[in-house]
């Protein structure tokens, strides 16, 4: 879906990488901030709440002024940028207690006193056609010079997205990490006997529900282009796999065979779905055409359960869960068919494989002493399996498209909630919701 339009780059960056590296090295020496940083996210009507705990290995001190908003735009864009950067764990966000336009002179000495190494100012203006022109400038407060800036044009409905885009540009400029603030997540909520498939901004704000049903919905999975969701719905009193086009609401039951149909996973080219079908008794893995479900061909042939397929990013390998060896473990096999080899060994229950976007790591669900955690395995030779989470009621890990975060379902106070952890395990974010139980997170792709 198109977002705000990047219109012009207004500055030639004077950013010096050597200076920044020196700055980063200095920051690493700073003592780590302990404790919990709690943030109330977004506008007053927000349905979600995020609590962040822990901090990254380094934290860049950044001051973000209020954006001059003569247009009275109904969204505090600077607040979106602040909360995105704070939640990333990579920034210590300083509120400079001022509102400053991108073109106004900056009092760098005062910012340095407050500990800021970088600074953001900006403005929001209304255009004649009703859209908004959002401008910001990012300064190196040490060098006292602008290092980036941009003008974005967005309709009112996309003002939050404009803030996310600015945060993406800032984190990429200052850390080299590609931001995921403008990506979306899908998840399922259950309130009473009503199930909703939801799509929201990465921070859980801006929730829309493309599907509402009296029957369960599980296993949402984003198409690689971000325009469709495959999922399992029980609306026909049995599990059936649908592909749902978000912009139109069009739904196609792509796998509705006798028995159970589940666990859809997209091939990287978006043309094929791997699914679990039960045409010959127990769950086995098949490939079908994503558009219409045609051309079903069986990929695994075992006398055991084979399910939860997922493609490697290059599309050549399929990871899946199987109990062919006596306990449920993750296996891999060529996506064109062939022999499967076992991947996980660290426990008697390792399921729900998810491959990182660079193909190097595997996130999965692992049972230890009767409790369920998100595990991470280096897929290189001899890579160990580590445990990333600690509450013990985890499910359904999902990688962010930059590979830096894993979102998963867990429980809090007897309710299903969502959490995200940085892959180094240092920063965790909890999303709680007024939507009731929230579960089955699936992190969407980068938007192009």
């Amino acid at each position: 879906m198109p977002g705000p339009v990047k219109r012009s780059r207004r500055f030639t960056p004077t950013y010096n990488p050597a200076t920044m590296k020196r700055l980063l090295r200095l920051l690493r020496l700073l003592p780590l901030l302990a404790g919990t940083l709690s943030l109330l996210g977004g506008p007053a009507l927000a349905q979600m709440r995020i609590d962040v705990s822990g901090v990254g290995a380094t934290q860049l001190p950044i001051a973000i002024a209020g954006f001059v908003n003569d247009a009275r735009a109904p969204q505090d864009i600077a607040a979106v940028v602040r909360s995105d950067l704070a939640r990333s764990g990579a920034f210590r966000v300083i509120d400079p207690q001022q509102t400053l336009s991108d073109t106004a002179p900056v009092d760098f000495a005062a910012l340095r006193t407050r500990g800021a190494d970088t600074f953001v100012a900006g403005s929001v203006a209304k255009l004649a056609d009703g859209r908004y022109d959002i401008r910001y400038r990012l300064y190196d407060a040490v060098k006292q010079a602008p290092i980036a800036g941009e003008s974005l044009v967005a309709p009112e409905a996309d003002l939050r997205l404009a803030g996310h885009r600015i945060a993406d540009a800032i984190i990429e400029k200052l850390t080299g990490e590609k931001g995921v603030f403008s990506t979306r997540i899908a998840f399922v909520s259950k309130q009473g006997n009503r199930f909703r498939l939801n799509v929201a901004d990465w921070d859980g704000e801006n929730v829309q529900s493309p599907l509402v049903s009296p029957e369960p919905i599980i296993s949402p999975s984003w198409s690689p282009d971000g325009g469709r969701l495959a999922y399992v719905s029980f609306e026909q009193k049995k599990p059936v796999v649908y592909v749902h086009t978000l912009a139109t609401g069009q739904r196609v039951a792509v796998a509705n065979f006798k028995g159970s149909n589940s666990a859809p996973a997209w091939s990287p080219d978006g043309r094929t779905l791997a699914v679990a079908l039960t045409l010959n008794g127990l769950s086995q893995i098949y490939l079908i055409n994503a558009a219409d479900g045609a051309n079903a061909r069986r990929l695994t042939t075992s006398n055991a359960i084979d399910t939860e397929p997922v493609f490697s990013p290059d599309g050549r390998t399929l990871y899946f869960t199987s109990d062919r060896g006596g306990s449920p473990q993750i296996y891999r096999m060529p996506a064109s068919g062939g022999d499967a080899t076992r991947v996980t060994f660290g426990s008697s229950y390792n399921v729900s494989p998810r491959v990182s976007p660079d193909g190097r790591n595997l996130a999965f669900l692992t049972r230890r002493d009767g409790r369920y955690f998100v595990g991470l395995k280096d897929l290189g030779p001899g890579g160990n399996e580590t445990v990333l989470t600690d509450s013990g009621q985890e499910e359904s890990p999902s990688f962010a498209p930059n590979g830096r975060w894993i979102m998963y379902a867990t429980q809090q106070g007897g309710r299903d909630s969502l959490m995200a952890t940085s892959v180094d395990g240092r920063v965790k974010q909890r999303l709680s919701s007024s939507l009731g139980d929230i579960r089955e997170p699936s992190w969407g792709p980068f938007l192009r």
Partner: protein, 189 residues
Amino acid sequence: MTRRPFATLAALATALALAACSSAVKLDDPAPVENRGAGAAGSAGGAAGGASGAPIGSERPIAQVTVDPSKDPLNDPNSPLSKRSIYFDFDSFTIKDEFRGVVEAHAKYLVANKTRKVVIQGNTDERGSREYNLALGQKRSEAVRRALASLGVADAQIEAVSFGEEKPKSTGSDESAFAENRRADLAYQ
């Protein structure tokens, strides 16, 4: 300030896409109920009187039939057919001896009533992966399906499906709730 036409077009596309996004598909409109087929509706048998002579009104006799659901052995609370749930032990997918009689009764009924169809719904407790639990629930329903098939029930009469952990009978998180949910249900269509 000049505005690029591309920007305007893209914004228009955004607006259209957003307008389309807000249309949620609702699934809770109840399906209309159709009353079709022979099943329950009474077949009015004519009871002709055999008397000679011609009493007034006797040319239009009407014999009343009262539908009695308890006559269908499926609805007889004393029949083993009234039992529709088969419970399994933890991590087990074999039908315990105490449920053999139930399975045999349903097999006999389905063999005798070739038009009846049954869906076997497998269930699990809530622990672990939802998709793996769906496959485990299928393993339970499949065990019952095989038992029925081995007793002569036609494949076309049976479908084994799984609800996994999604439709728990008991919503607690203790062992008695878990045991209640390790179950396959027979749902006649």
